[in-house]
Symmetry: C2
Subunit: 298 residues, 2 copies
């Protein structure tokens, strides 16, 4: 078992975690990002610049960025669905953009009403725009391990799309298991084509998020998206469910001796905050049970 000394977690809770929830006010979202940064997370997807009509929970993105201000040593990422969103995000002063494109034609069509070709062209335009501001773009490939519409996805198609996105100016690639169809076999098959220099964005729709993270780790991946409390899932994706919980990932990685820079107890305080903000229990088991180091009193 060859595990790395450290990995980078990109916290997506303030964006992916909250987007399908009842709207949380800007002040609460800012407090959540600050709690996550205080716990040691150095890369946080804080907002998306989408239409507040389409995704009410993401309204006020510019206000969240303004209230946070620059955070030294922290990358504040914003998801942007199109050029207009990118312009707003760049004007707000974010540190990184994420853009999404599905390797599944039907999913892409239903999610953004564009063909994959059209999406790739639009993304190249966003990359050019961002480059002008010195801002990097991370391209997220949805349905990289299976599509709820077409079923299995050819790893060669994922590889070709990754190549095209890099050619179009994406600084990095994240492979997303949007509806929880990945297994270690699929992770291995896709990574054999793309190589391990990608991030993995995994969901727990079928309970395989953490096992896929582990498979990715064994295959050499060093960057993972996780969501505080295990919240998440596209409001538009059939069968989507929560992301890998940040505290479940950190508790696991801590015991494996893989450093994340995150303090588990401070992270659990952030998970308690997100539970307060959304007003219901979060799916994360570690948020309930605590890490394995928290013992009972006999």
């Amino acid at each position: 078992m060859a595990l790395p000394p450290s990995v980078t977690l990109r916290e997506v809770g303030p964006r992916d975690g909250l987007q399908a929830e009842a709207p949380v006010p800007v002040a609460g979202r800012v407090a959540l990002v600050e709690a996550l940064v205080a716990a040691g997370l150095r890369h946080v997807e804080v907002v998306s610049f989408v239409s507040p009509k389409a995704v009410p929970a993401m309204a006020g993105a510019a206000e969240v960025i303004a209230a946070l201000g620059p955070l030294p040593g922290v990358t504040r990422t914003a998801l942007v669905p199109n050029r207009r969103g990118a312009e707003l995000a760049l004007a707000a002063g974010v540190d990184e953009l994420t853009v999404t494109i599905a390797v599944s034609p039907t999913y892409n069509e239903r999610n953004v009403k564009m063909t994959i070709d059209e999406s790739a062209s639009a993304i190249a335009g966003v990359c050019a725009l961002a480059r002008g501001d010195g801002v990097r773009v991370d391209a997220v490939v949805s349905c990289a391990f299976g599509s709820p519409y077409e079923g299995d996805v050819d790893p060669a198609d994922v590889g070709a799309l990754c190549h095209r996105l890099r050619e179009g100016g994406a600084a990095s690639i994240t492979l997303a298991d949007t509806t929880g169809m990945a297994t270690p076999r699929r992770v291995d098959e896709v990574l054999a084509v793309t190589g391990p220099d990608v991030a993995l964005h995994l969901h727990e729709s079928r309970g395989t998020g953490l096992v896929n993270l582990y498979a990715g780790l064994l295959a050499g991946v060093r960057r993972f998206d996780t969501s505080v409390g295990g919240l998440g899932g596209s409001p538009f994706a059939a069968g989507a469910a929560g992301n890998v919980a940040t505290e479940e990932a950190v508790a696991l990685l801590d015991d494996l001796g893989v450093a994340t820079g995150v303090d588990i107890e401070a992270l659990l305080a952030a998970a308690a905050l997100v539970e307060d903000l959304v007003g219901h229990p979060v799916p994360s088991r570690v948020a309930r049970a605590g890490p394995r180091t928290r013992l009972a009193t006999p």
Copy 2:
């Protein structure tokens, strides 16, 4: 990645899954076992012969066995806490006994009010008794990957206890992660001492059940306990939570090409039945989302 062509799942839902629930009548428990057998499970822990005062949900164990009758090709297992339970189980005509002993002194003391030495001696007595009836005994080692009282467990202690149990007549050993403290690191460390000829009984208290199952699989383990719907957890163990869900394990193993003999759709019908019987949703994600092969209609 060296995966085996097949593994054996021992279904523990009718026992471990139901023991902490409001009591389900005998007829419902019999119907559940029959649904599990119909789905292809060939090894089922069907009851425990414990005091109905201590565990009301397990009352009527002999009636369950009688109503099931012999099931050709199926091993009907009963958990027994002591010699009296073993006598009742053998009189009822079960095919296998499970006995438990913790490698954690405090856990053992609190669970059965005996020292580990006293438990090991009692188990040797049960093994001798069962041998007279030609019935095999599987010894389950609780807290094999960590104790909620003492914390980390020395793998050498687990190995020594396994050796002692085999010497005492146990036909096989199951290593139980009673309160969800295992990680792939702990699984590897313990298996390095015990060897892979053990079964793993894993819990999802910290969301690591499936990742530990996968780690065990990679390390050569071929037998796993799972529970339909992901129910389970000792009513007496601090921090315990559900077992690995049988349908999550089968869905994963199906995609890995590891045969279980279980039909996932028939298994999901059994999961729906157990949900009806306990009267609340089960924690299994595959019970909700279905297997990855179940596609959406565009």
